[in-house]
Symmetry: D2
Subunit: 427 residues, 4 copies
């Protein structure tokens, strides 16, 4: 069989309907784009990318570069320093992009041009070329392939950079620009001219969705940086008003004037679309529509909450042993429920088997809570027998109470002490 995913995204393209709006015209090179291009890509956190349409047609990344460079600026300078240069508030209408916060002089957020230029200037590097080298390197690591700059678009765009020059001079006036306006605008324009496909963008999005780690396991962005970038995209990423976007679509996203659009569902998936004609907000007309459709069809909304809460842990007695069978992914809330099962365990020296053989994922919080629960059962006098074939709890030595902290356990896969419940029960 073929996975229904393929059919789904092809159907999506076929049924997306009439296009509208116009190709961006202010940059001569963009104006020459084929307006009928249409593509979609969905990338999973483990590296599978579904594509349909013109998935290998290159276009310039434009404003989709903003969150990525913002991430690099934070990585280079630290969040505090970046926040002193750039605020994180939504900025209302498009024209106000040009304005800075009247009290602090900071650009409202890194998704408008003023903020993006300030962010570019915060990337470490002697000059535009040095900064752009590091930026392209980051983008390439996110995309999983070596990206390059569309020089013709760059030249074309640089010749129309009056607005960005104005912003850069203004930023320098208020002390928010590192470097000289001409050099910074040159670098920023190059950054916007990086050439990508929807496949690249979906892959980039999937790394952000995975908390900054690629499918191959490379950590590209620290978790705090990644979280900051997603948070800012959620309120400031689209030119629509913050509340409108968060209520109706409900995932962090960013569009570019060349027709690209990238969205991230944290912990789940990265999505990208491409269609050059833009609506009045400057977003890809069909892109936004595809996006809304996918979000609806795939149930992707930050505020979607599952009503059905089923058992994650049950206690059975086998041969005098108390066996806690645990299923599903473990976060704080599942750990909390497991603790309730532990609570019911009467004090004594009866062996307690904790069966994690059906658990594959646990976050730090869950791991810490689990280890603390095991420690307590141990203190109650119980002999603890841990079945953790997937190493979910890390290299915890449970027999002697010297529990390895979750932080250390994060390192890698460590097989559990026992192969299965049967041998655990047998001791």
């Amino acid at each position: 069989m073929q996975t229904p995913m393929i059919d789904y995204i092809h159907l999506l393209l076929e049924s997306i309907g009439e296009d509208g709006g116009h190709v961006a015209s202010y940059i001569p090179e963009l104006a020459q784009a084929n307006p009928d291009r249409l593509a979609v890509a969905i990338a999973t956190l483990d590296g599978k990318v579904y594509v349909a349409g013109d998935a290998d047609v290159e276009f310039t990344i434009q404003s989709i570069s903003k969150p990525l460079t913002y991430a690099l600026a934070i990585a280079d300078q630290g969040l505090e320093s970046v926040l002193q240069h750039i605020d994180v508030e939504p900025s209302g209408d498009a024209f106000n992009e040009i304005s800075l916060d009247p009290d602090t002089g900071r650009p409202r957020n890194p998704m408008i041009n003023a903020g993006a230029i300030a962010a570019h200037a915060l990337v470490s590097g002697e000059d535009a070329d040095a900064r752009v080298d590091r930026i392209v390197d980051l983008y390439s690591r996110l995309a999983g392939r070596s990206l390059s700059i569309a020089e013709d678009v760059f030249e074309s765009e640089l010749s129309e950079a009056d607005r960005n020059m104005a912003l850069a001079y203004m930023l320098r006036t208020v002390g928010k620009l590192e470097g000289t306006p001409t050099d910074v605008v040159r670098g920023y324009t190059r950054q916007c001219s990086v050439s990508v496909t929807v496949r690249d963008l979906a892959r980039m999005a999937s790394v952000l969705a995975a908390g900054g780690v690629t499918a191959e396991g490379e950590r590209v962005l620290e978790p705090e940086v990644n979280r900051q970038v997603l948070s800012v995209m959620a309120t400031c990423g689209m030119y629509n008003s913050a509340g409108d976007w968060l209520t109706s679509v409900g995932i962090p996203a960013k569009s570019g004037v060349a027709g690209g659009l990238m969205g991230i569902m944290p912990g789940q998936v990265g999505i990208a679309v491409f269609s050059p004609r833009l609506d009045a907000h400057g977003n890809s007309t069909r892109g936004v529509r595809m996006f809304e459709r996918m979000n609806h069809d795939l149930g992707l909304h930050l505020m979607n909450a599952s009503a059905s809460v089923s058992t994650v842990s049950r206690r059975v007695e086998i041969d005098g042993c108390s066996v806690h069978e645990i299923t599903g992914d473990l976060h704080f809330i599942e750990a909390e429920r497991i603790m309730r099962g532990f609570e019911d365990e009467p004090v004594g020296d009866a062996p307690v088997v904790i069966d994690l053989s059906q658990v594959r994922r646990a976050n730090d919080i869950a791991r810490r809570v689990m280890l603390e629960g095991i420690r307590r059962l141990h203190l109650d006098g119980h002999e603890i027998r841990l079945v953790d074939p997937w190493g979910v709890l890390g290299s915890a030595e449970t027999g002697n109470g010297e529990l390895v902290r979750g932080e250390q356990a994060r390192g890698g896969y460590v097989p559990g002490a026992f192969a299965n419940v049967a041998s655990a029960v047998r001791g």
Copy 2:
């Protein structure tokens, strides 16, 4: 043993440190509150509530009523109609609370007084008393106990309602107020005077976190209503700026001037704190601090993404059968990965066992994708043997290819066709 949760929240109260700010003074009754009260409560989606401190001290709900009544307004009038009266955009500084959108006349959002008064007036009911009856009924259902109004606070607040009277008259002027100002302000003031404890608030929050369903399984709010309320709380709930709150705390929340503060982590947990002294923003000083601490300690942030993606499905051959063992909760992204396992199945009439015995939860999307995958394997010639002891896929009849769609299956618990994998393999 005792669950570590209890220790955690007690430790939280003990270590929260110096209080600051002042008890709200503009309402005489509030000014008399004991400023040293301190309480916290965490409620799980299945009804467990952890509390510490003055958890059973009652105080008035005040602005925390706003998202709840907004939910009722949407339930009564439909989202479209409510959006015509009230926008969903963050509103900047506190003073602007008083203003309406210059173009549409709509209050900026339902979390500022103007929007909350408009929302109150949209609740069905002949007059203030009728509306308040329905409102208190909703709050009571959310809290899981019968709530009542603190009449002394109500009287005290009504006598200081100039600002709300101004807002109500203004709303009527721009056609956004249903009813007469005096009656609406009376009703709105009563709504704010509902008496609650942190236990109540945490429980209410947990229902919102569960998508609108109580721990007992009662659906109090439709999923769409619930999602809208959470989305609006995420950007407009706290008096801080939208971006600041979303980046730093990262969950939907709402505070009240009596010192309460309620937060929701969708799909996970409801939280409430109480401490009457307020900071300059009008939020509980220690409340905000406790909140930030818990969110950090418990890893609650909408943008937290887990980097570790482990196997959800593996294929083993048993006695000539292809067995797909599936573990963990199923959403779109897990279903997608399972499909990849199905894809690898060579065309033929070999029996395929789909083992869901370790799966307890699946959302609609996942269910639909799974059923489609099964249908396709069936079309490929395979005999499908489904092990679904928890009825995750609904009443799917897999033997004859006439698969029940997910929508129908949603109805209730239907045991799987086979008790376990062994009998499935045997056929």
Copy 3:
């Protein structure tokens, strides 16, 4: 002959052209007005009123009451106190009328409803009736006849006073309203319902143009109050933007929703027009047009400056006397030029005749400078012979050097010491 003025204003009415816009509809009684009414009146500072059209048709004064009541508030409370309640800045677009200054809570100016309501509340008086009695009394003194209230319009307007109720409650919230909202709005609505004709309005305007003094010589407003009112009308009087009005029309003015429009050219003339249909700004459509025409035709613009400066003083020698013949009105600048003539007078005891027989008007500054010049000539040794048949310099006793200061001289008409130059020369 008949004065061309009469012909001029009749011609103005005849040629004003097509009407446009609509009669104010939000107040039922106003909606019933005859939309074709048309009238104009020009009142000179000495009491002559030229009228044409429906000059004796009564309509309600509406917002034209605002500057007048503002004057009374200043007279009652002092300028400082009134400024603490109401600012004097233009407020941009119409909707912002509803807003208050975010820092101070003050209404932007007394010409928008919020400011006008605050001004009404600052008029001394126990309650609405007491305040309105004093207000109607002021208006009557300005109009030169006893005015009364159109009770039917008042009742109609009071029933549609939601916006004003909102403003009054809001003002009380920020501490800028003296009294209770209901009483103040009642009083303000009565104030707006005073019934006037264009003849009345032109006469009122002429009193303001005369610095607060009627043609009969009654001082109704102190000069400082009058100047404040005109200044505020100049920037905030019309709903158009401040700069637009000041550049294009260039005189203080105020319009009312019943179709009246009143303008003041300081020191020159008062003008009023009436035509009920309103343009998009809420100003009388034909009224504004008539106004622009008159201002152009009659050269009325605050910034019109005369280029031609001719002699105001010349020195002739007659029979050994130095005679300074002075002509025209005397202000600072003319006095300054006369002093230059005095400067040329060689020191000595030759008699100096100062001939003011062709001078009818002098302001305080000019009077003071003249007296100081005379004092200095006297100190130089000259015998001074003053010819001041119109008493322009006041009761100055010039023969003995004991000059009466201008302040004292202000009292009244004092004939000069000499009947004419001939006798002055003769000594």
Copy 4:
């Protein structure tokens, strides 16, 4: 004797009291200014300049250049075209200087930097040098001497022109800048570096006060241009809010960051002061104070209206002739009163003598009304005998009814038909 003016302005300097604030520091050259400089100058419309203090110390004109260059832009391009580039509305706080009108992209007014830069660019000329040549030429004509540029200040200022570069690029982005940013900013900076004294500024102001004509009779600015400039200065000239300035000081004015301040009382006088320390608004601290004092002492406020209206015309009978003796300056309002005297003239063929021998000034409107009145008396059958030794009415031929219109009469001085009343009465 010496004119009291000299004593007055010296006394003003002596009594002005403590200085405050700081010399402008952002431009190195300005920071080196001697902060204790103090000067004042008052220039009459006929060329007399009173000075005190450091009246011949040169400083750079800075922002005082803005209204002057605005005038040249209007003269070069026409008012319509300039209005399409630059609005005329006050702009609120200082920071917003940076912003443009969101709807039109126009700078708010020509007194903020954005507007001033746009105005500079509208001056005709190939490049900065060509524009600056014409600008310096205009300033020199206004000042009555040849001015030059302080090259050291220019160089210093150009090196700190980031903000102006930002504004220029922004203006080009919105299509409001003619020319290239670098060239325009260079030219604008040179314009700001023109070196002047208070004597120069007072003289410039006096030309504006005279409607654009120098004391020597040279017309430098057309009346419409002059009126526009004064109107804009009245609302936008000072960094204080528009309403505050117009109510408290009440005359058009403009300050510069080097410490200069120039004010214009239309039709009366030009004033300038100089003191380098600036207050928080960027205005000269002592300069503003001197200004307020002078305006108070000299009665200079646009809204000052004289209450005393005295006779301008009286009718006497001499030898069967009706003689109308007219005194004072003639504008619309005086002409209107003279017409009333004409009205009383009974129909008949009796000679009417119109004695203008005491009239030296009449504006167009007055001239037209007078001629129309004379025409009507003629039509009534009267023989008209005009005594107009100063040619106030122009070359009117009154004997035969063929009246020359005022427009034609404007040309120059034409002596009246009769030398004096006596000969007029004799016929």
